[in-house]
């Protein structure tokens, strides 16, 4: 996989210099956001400018960014609606919990434990993604959405009846649908709906940032590879893609499995950030939340979804002053932002105002932008038309 990725990167360097430039810009913005964000937040935390509330959200923000980036691979780049991303997150999170718990006795160095857990989580989630990916190949649009939703619910349902424990020698015990007999409380690893408890928190902000960077690296490289261009060609016109000999099924499955593996890793990091982890966390609402990040940040726009993930994670916390009206305000803000960013008339008006008040914009560039927006509008309309068909 990695070899192929590297190869495709070099192919890109030879072939599409112009497109490469565009991608390089996207990559620079995305990595830039991550690095600047990381440094600013570390600085803020060190100087005490950032309170505990925000500090406590550093890791989840990174996790949600990773999830948004990985889901963007399916929704944005591959053009399929997935409503079960939290299922992969769950698979990764619980795998990670089991692995770190088993290794806790023998491997004292926490980062090493975390890395092994992340790899295991990616592996398990990838298998889940592969199993789910196969039926997906024959389905389109909203039917695909419902299958992913169904699989997400099935994964969560199974988590409710899975029991893991450790025996006296540190060996793993497993039981399906009933509690393990005679197990001491301290030796429980996963207890059905109660989930995992007593997790030693080993996730750190730095680790989570590195995970986000890794996710970014993988997704951007795929987007920018031969495979990525094939996936996008299929998204834009499946029939045209097929007619030039692209293996639609292979590419869609690849995107889906990679996305699942990355979600599993993010889930693993999430699981290691709290002392307890219950399956109920990974319900339909979480899947939808990740989808909201992607749509709000701009379908297919990697760094847009990163920013949306960060802001929408902080938003409910920032709204705490509204006390009883907090979630109501959140809902209203969500609706308004969606309308403001997607409604063609409002969008045009806002960009118009922005162009006027932006002193850094060259007049010529501004003119070009307007033209670009027009074609952009028609393009996105064409795309949405296809989605509806």
């Amino acid at each position: 996989m990695a070899e192929r990725l590297l190869k495709s990167v070099s192919v890109r360097a030879l072939k599409g210099a112009k497109r490469g430039g565009q991608y390089r810009r996207e990559a620079m913005i995305a990595y830039g956001i991550l690095i600047v964000g990381y440094l600013l937040l570390q600085l803020g935390a060190a100087t005490g400018l950032i309170g505990m509330n925000l500090q406590g959200q550093f890791v989840p923000i990174c996790v949600y960014m990773s999830l948004a980036i990985s889901l963007n691979l399916v929704v944005g780049i591959s053009g399929e609606l997935s409503l079960g991303h939290a299922g992969f997150m769950a698979a990764g999170a619980f795998t990670g919990v089991v692995v770190t718990r088993v290794l806790e006795g023998s491997l004292g160095f926490a980062p090493a434990r975390l890395i092994i857990a992340l790899i295991a989580a990616a592996f398990v989630a990838a298998i889940a993604g592969f199993i789910i990916g196969i039926p997906i190949l024959g389905l389109r649009g909203d039917y695909l959405a419902i299958v992913t939703l169904a699989f997400g619910e099935i994964i969560r349902n199974f988590m409710n009846v899975i029991y893991f424990g450790l025996d006296k020698n540190g060996h793993l015990l497993f039981s399906f649908n009933h509690a393990i007999d005679g197990l001491e409380d301290a030796n429980r690893v996963i207890t059905g709906p109660i989930g995992a408890t007593g997790i030693t928190k080993i996730a750190t902000f730095t680790g989570a940032t590195l995970l986000t960077a890794f996710t970014l690296f993988v997704v951007l490289n795929i987007k920018n590879s031969k495979q990525g261009r094939a996936i996008m060609a299929i998204r834009d016109n499946r029939i045209a893609g097929e007619s030039i000999g692209l293996d639609v099924k292979k590419y869609k499955l690849m995107a889906f499995v990679v996305s699942a593996a990355l979600a599993g890793m993010a889930g693993c990091m999430f699981g290691q950030n709290y002392s307890t982890l219950a399956p109920v966390k990974f319900n339909f609402n979480t899947s939808v939340l990740i989808l909201v990040f992607v749509v709000l940040g701009g379908i297919g726009n990697i760094w847009g979804s990163m920013i949306a993930a960060a802001l929408l994670t902080i938003l409910p916390e920032a709204l705490r002053q509204f006390s009883d009206y907090r979630m109501l305000t959140y809902a209203i803000v969500l609706i308004l932002v969606m309308i403001c960013t997607y409604n063609p008339a409002i969008k045009a008006r806002i960009t118009g105002i922005m162009a006027k008040i932006n002193p850094f914009k060259k007049p010529k560039d501004g003119g070009g932008k307007t033209g670009g927006r027009k074609t952009g509008g028609s393009k996105s309309k064409k795309k949405s038309g296809k989605e509806e068909a």
Partner: protein
């Protein structure tokens, strides 16, 4: 006997899903959007009916009419304010807005009516259940009325869509929005009408659902909403008979897997069946196969 009583429970639960699914499927058919707020409109309908009958002493059936009126207005209002500005921008943007509307309705209900559950008084309170087979089999009035309501609504809707002018206009809009407009059909009006009917039905579904399963909290509509969405896809989203068949089958599978296989894994079984069906028929049971044009 067990089999029969499970079957009746399944049909009754399935009928509730079916009526909710009708709302999903109609809205999907005409505007190609998944209206995830639909489940919460049901909850609002049930609350309005509850308040009307319990606090204002209204007759249950009259309260149902008021609830239908409120939900119809609500549905049209939601479409006008939240969905219409996003028409033509792709289904995902509207989907997310619908989720925002769903959060809004849930939290609004929480603020207005509080968190403590209300116990809905059945519309058919006082009607004795039918005992058959020497008391072995009980069929509650709620089951009978829900199943009957489902069939009547399905027939009336099918007739309306196929025979009336407004119904034909709706079908035209759902087939080709632009062409319909060129033919002089008021697209906005057609879509508003669809939302009005769907939301009015949501109130009926809410009252019937809470008559059978009386606990009413602000999140009451969420899970049935998802299940009904599943049912709509199961039957072939966009198809009115499909929604009914999908809902009934889903209800029966759910009850039977609980009764005969495992209560723990019932949800997994329901969703597993759905996946199998979609593997065999990728557009649902009665969904139309759309041929892609080059």
């Amino acid at each position: 006997m067990n089999f029969l009583s499970s079957l009746i429970s399944g049909l009754s639960l399935g009928s509730v899903y079916a009526i909710i699914a009708l709302g999903y499927t109609m809205v999907y058919g005409i505007s190609k959007m998944l209206n995830f707020a639909h489940g919460d409109v049901i909850m609002i309908g049930a609350y309005v009916s509850f308040i009307m009958s319990m606090h204002l002493g209204m007759n249950g059936w009259l309260a149902l009419l008021v609830a239908m009126f409120v939900c119809t207005c609500l549905g049209v209002l939601i479409e006008r304010l939240a969905y219409r500005p996003l028409r033509g921008t792709g289904s995902l943007a509207v989907l997310i807005t619908a989720i925002g509307v769903s959060y809004f309705l849930q939290n609004m209900a929480l603020l207005i009516w509080g968190a403590n559950p209300r116990i809905f008084t059945s519309l058919f309170n006082g009607m004795a259940p039918i005992h058959a087979a020497g008391g072995q089999l009980n069929i509650s009035a709620e089951s009978i009325f829900t199943i009957a309501a489902n069939i009547i609504i399905m027939i009336v809707l099918t007739l309306f869509v196929n025979k009336t002018k407004a119904g034909k206009a709706m079908r035209a809009v759902s087939e080709d929005n632009g062409a319909a407009q060129l033919m002089g059909i008021n697209v906005n009006q057609s879509i508003s009408l669809t939302f009005a009917i769907g939301s009015g039905l949501a109130a009926v579904a809410g009252v019937l659902m809470c008559s059978a399963y009386p606990v009413l909290i602000p999140t009451t509509g969420a899970m049935p909403g998802i299940k009904a969405f599943t049912a709509a896809v199961f039957g072939g989203i966009g198809s009115i008979p499909g929604a009914m068949i999908g809902g009934l089958i889903l209800g029966i599978i759910e009850i039977f897997s609980r009764a005969y296989i495992s209560t723990e894994l019932a949800d997994a079984i329901v969703f597993g069946c759905l996946i199998v069906v979609l593997l065999v028929r990728p557009t649902g049971l009665l969904g139309k196969k759309v041929h892609e044009k080059v």
